[in-house]
């Protein structure tokens, strides 16, 4: 009984507040930078609160020097832009080629770049959380990150995610 009442109360509460999405961006490749940014931008466009937790390699998406240099893997990426056996995918220039093709696909489809998606989402109020442990492990300083990031540990992010209607890990 108590459980049911709690659920109903929380549903009622949900009707009167903005919906929220909490995303984790854990990948630091160009192709994998898009999904969390697209979902966050879309959620904010729907009027939701949106927050993305950038952790491990995903932190590169917030890194001022690495953000523009994200690449698409030519190895172990069978659905990637170039279809090469792994032995050839390891050749010098293969990663650069895969990256170039992906950028051309996006450009031809008039899709914004990753930096443009960051600007769009921040403009809509999407919150960017930088994983403090990743910063410590990988030697990333606050000054290495783009403006507007919040440094947060796992507990702070889970506190935010606990009140989210949608939580996704990318």
């Amino acid at each position: 009984m108590t459980d049911t009442r709690t659920r109903v109360e929380s549903d009622l509460e949900g009707a009167e507040r903005r919906r929220r999405i909490a995303l984790v961006a854990s990948k630091g490749t160009l192709d994998q930078a898009y999904p969390p940014l697209i979902l966050a931008t879309t959620a904010a466009s729907l009027g939701w609160e949106a927050g993305v937790y950038f952790t491990f390699y995903g932190l590169d998406i917030l890194h001022v020097d690495r953000l523009e240099k994200l690449k698409v893997a030519s190895l172990a990426n069978p659905a990637g832009p170039i279809q090469l056996p792994n032995l050839l995918g390891a050749l010098p220039g293969a990663t650069a080629a895969a990256t170039k093709i992906m950028k051309k696909w996006m450009d031809d489809a008039r899709m914004p770049t990753v930096p443009e998606f960051i600007e769009m989402s921040q403009g809509l109020g999407v919150r960017f959380f930088a994983c403090s442990t990743t910063m410590g492990v990988m030697g990333v300083e606050e000054g290495d990150l783009i403006k507007g990031c919040e440094i947060a540990g796992a507990a702070a992010f889970l506190d935010y995610a606990a009140d989210a209607d949608v939580q996704l890990f990318v």
Binding site: E16, T42, S45, L46, G47, M111
Partner: protein
Amino acid sequence: MTTQFTTPVAPSRVDAELDTSGLLCPLPVYQAGLALGQLTKGQVLRLVTTDPGSLEDIPALARQLGDTLLDAQRHEHHQVFLIEKGDRL
């Protein structure tokens, strides 16, 4: 899920127009969200899209924002939506 209307709403009700032809998800939703943000309650946005996903996306946008989808017309290569801005949280 997509609502299809047979009688188009009188064009005199349109307060703003946005053409997102050639743009893919999430850009039609993103741009429509910005355009609706410029309107006041009761005003109507006429939105043109070519992204086939927008047949579901635009009704979802209106539903999530608390706006009203007055009209959705599906043509061969594009869609036309009329969205009336509602109350916002």
